[in-house]
Subunit: 249 residues, 2 copies
DNA sequence: CGTATCCTTGAAGGACTTCAAATGTTGTGG
DNA sequence: CCACAACATTTGAAGTCCTTCAAGGATACG
């Protein structure tokens, strides 16, 4: 399978593509790069000449606060292009790195620009994706700003699960989630210690199982409720209002 | 002065315009609406047919969490188009309302779409603005997720000050900031009580004065330091790296 | 098999919240 | 222009959620 398959699946999770558009996306080319957990792709202050399509694994965007603590701003799943913004914003304002061993396609900006110029509709779809990303950022602000630890972590798990499902990377109520408790803490504004205690509570309440990098959702409805999770903000095709599509629930 | 002047000033704070593009923006038309503090423009679940240009005042985007508490996700200053996203995302995933008496221009989607179609470069500039907005959302996640109350509020004040300055709405080290302490709390994930105590500390430390809806920054450098504020993420023209442009500092 | 990393649990401390009441400010109708 | 109501700010005291510090145990990997 060509490496752009996952991108096509991602785009079709948020919009529709014609055959011609699918072929145009499939012609996108670049360099495949293997990354180890912890490796950075671009850093704050960089001026990238490429954009990165995540093929497999997990990436995170993060910043280091004044106290030295890391805040994860976004988690990225296969099909995402986390540094598309460098097409229009010359200087990176945050870091992008791998939180799990990953494989990416590094696409020269010109490749992407040509695609957008020749297919304005695809440009609009990518813009749309930018807007969805912004909606996810807002939801994260709500998450760390307004929810208690228990609900906050529940919400994060719901989101990752649903996004993986949208690109076909969940197996029923189960998915790969190769995050350490420290990663989860950095994404939710909590300490790894408190994440440990809170995950124990979620397990003891029978909502999830989580071990060896695999998340299993035992009680989707109760987990959603705990996380106050309404997938509307993901703007996925196939979710109508606050209904949950797919095989979940 | 035509009402689109403020939009042109905003666009020129993040990019360059030709005379022809300026004229095209100036031809944007719509309905002028006056809003009182507390009034909503669009709500979660709505499917707007217009986008809103803020002419004067302050708007906020917000969500209500499960506990009933309001989380402000973004503050908008004149020149912003806070619901541009409704051009591409049919359903609103959050609310947009006035936090101060405001005046807006409600522009039919078709008006904006025509502008983008006839001037793709302006489309790219608006996309760029979308990306900057996303950068601001990320910074807010960092703010509420990683910083203590004192630093958090300092950061918010720095950002608002600098954004108002970028569109010419600050008078030296002073600007209108018609926010209640409850508003500030909802934007930073704090209670109004703790905001009150923290603002007192900021005043006592000689960093700011704040009364009757006016903010005066007495010690810009120390306030920046307290807020760990690096304006890079605002991607303003005229700021090089982390340098502070304009009349501040 | 040993070492690094990750997870878990306990105990103490701190930042922020909650509850409550007093004071100050703003806007409006008489 | 005053009086009054509604709203915003301030301060105190008690409580809670989460952090910090510390140490032991499990798991992964060369």
């Amino acid at each position: 399978v060509p490496h752009t398959d996952i991108l096509i699946r991602k785009l079709e999770s948020i919009g529709t593509l014609t055959d011609e558009q699918r072929q145009a996306v499939a012609r996108l080319d670049g360099t495949i790069i293997d990354l180890r957990r912890g490796q950075d792709i671009v850093r704050e202050g960089d001026r990238p000449r490429t954009s990165t399509l995540l093929l497999s694994g997990f990436l995170s965007r993060y910043k280091i606060a004044g106290t030295g603590s890391r805040q994860i701003l976004a988690l990225h799943t296969p099909g995402d292009v986390p540094d598309l913004q460098s097409l229009f914003l010359a200087v990176m304002d945050h870091n992008l790195g791998a939180v799990a061993d990953s494989q990416v396609l590094s696409m020269p900006h010109e490749e992407v620009r040509d695609l957008i110029r020749s297919h304005p509709i695809l440009g609009e779809l990518l813009w749309r994706d930018t807007l969805i990303e912004a909606a996810i950022f807002r939801e994260w602000t709500l998450n760390v700003g307004s929810r208690a630890a228990y609900n906050r972590i529940a919400h994060l798990l719901c989101e990752v699960m649903m996004r993986l499902q949208a690109v076909g990377l969940a197996q029923g109520n189960r998915c790969d989630l190769p995050l350490t408790q420290e990663d989860i803490g950095d994404a939710t504004g909590l300490t790894n210690v408190h994440v440990s205690r809170t995950l124990r509570d979620l397990r003891q309440d029978g909502l999830i199982e989580m071990a060896r990098g695999t998340l299993t959702v035992l009680e989707w409805e109760r987990l959603k409720e705990a996380g106050e999770f309404d997938p509307l903000y993901l703007h996925l095709r196939g979710t109508r209002g606050s209904a949950v599509g797919g095989t979940l629930g």
